[in-house]
Symmetry: C2
């Protein structure tokens, strides 16, 4: 069994690509089989149904989003460093996997109940993150702000540019893809500056 790549992995990779592009409804099993370089029969041999395959892919992509969360909170640094690190890591992650946000959000809206299950599997402790922010407010490191708002503000600024790529490119950047790439490269510095200015007291 000296395959260049495990067939199961090939399938999952192909499924990622197709599901992300087309969504659950738009994806075709035949298309996934083609993408994986195998035939439909074998595809069903590995993953009996489309649903099972989809669940697998979704779980993988969803996990990626929360991975950074966990790592960022676990580090012991000043709040300012934490903020900066968090933002830069997050944007970096989406630069490498720009397809994730759009996909996860779409499918989460299609089936909102799923998030409960997914979050139970990921044993992430949100309370610690909330406490971190509350403490920074108490210590007068940042201006008073509710943790939910600060977190969603940061996530907004990090994620939205990837979700809205066609709008940003088409509307603000004259459809110029090079400009979009440059825009994305500027985001880390821009977001860090924006957020720091918005909340840091000094």
């Amino acid at each position: 069994m000296t395959k260049e790549q495990n067939t199961e992995d090939k399938i999952v990779e192909a499924a990622k690509t197709v599901f992300v592009q087309k969504g659950m409804d738009g994806a075709r099993m035949q298309h996934i089989a083609d993408e994986a370089g195998i035939n439909k029969a074998l595809l069903h041999y590995y993953f009996r149904t489309k649903d099972k395959l989809f669940e697998k892919v979704f779980a993988i992509l969803f996990k990626d989003i929360f991975f950074i969360f966990e790592r960022a909170v676990s580090e012991e640094t000043s709040f300012e460093e934490f903020l900066e690190g968090f933002i830069r890591q997050y944007i970096k992650m989406f630069k490498a996997r720009p397809y994730i946000p759009q996909f996860v959000i779409h499918e989460l809206n299609r089936n909102p109940e799923r998030i409960v299950e997914q979050l139970q599997n990921s044993k992430f402790d949100k309370q610690r993150l909330f406490d971190l922010i509350d403490k920074a407010v108490e210590d007068k490191v940042i201006r008073p702000i509710q943790p939910v708002h600060l977190i969603t503000n940061i996530l907004s600024l990090c994620i939205f540019p990837f979700i809205a790529k066609p709008i940003i490119t088409g509307f603000a950047l004259d459809g110029n893809k090079t400009k979009y790439k440059q825009y994305i490269d500027e985001r880390p510095d821009e977001v860090v500056a924006f957020v720091k200015q918005a909340v840091l007291l000094k």
Copy 2:
């Protein structure tokens, strides 16, 4: 012809509802007919194909997004008032039509070329908005920032909370829908404060 409501309008309303919930691929013509309280034959009688009906709905929803843009820019006030008015109007609009962002973004990613056509129809002058921001920087009303970044930052903060509703509710707010409603009510003040603090020089 004294109908309670024009049949064509009934269809478009129904189509909005269904397309927004399910997306183009997930939507079923039968479902739309049911929602409109008519039968499938009549549905096809008015809009020959699913595509034609979809295009109609998409154009309507897309226009809503840019309507606020146009109005906000056309007012003659201080930059600070402009900022605040723009943010409050935008969030208010999405509070009334929370289904729009998710839908438009999904379909725009499914077919990015479409944005070009849509933007040509909407004769909105983006340059004026850009100039407004550049001038505010020159006049030292705000710190140096590229218009694209400021605009996308604001849009991020306004729109993301609606797109990510299930994540925010499930993750940060313990699945409590009342808390989500309250969270959304707090957004205008929060975003205005956040953005002002981030860019305004005083």
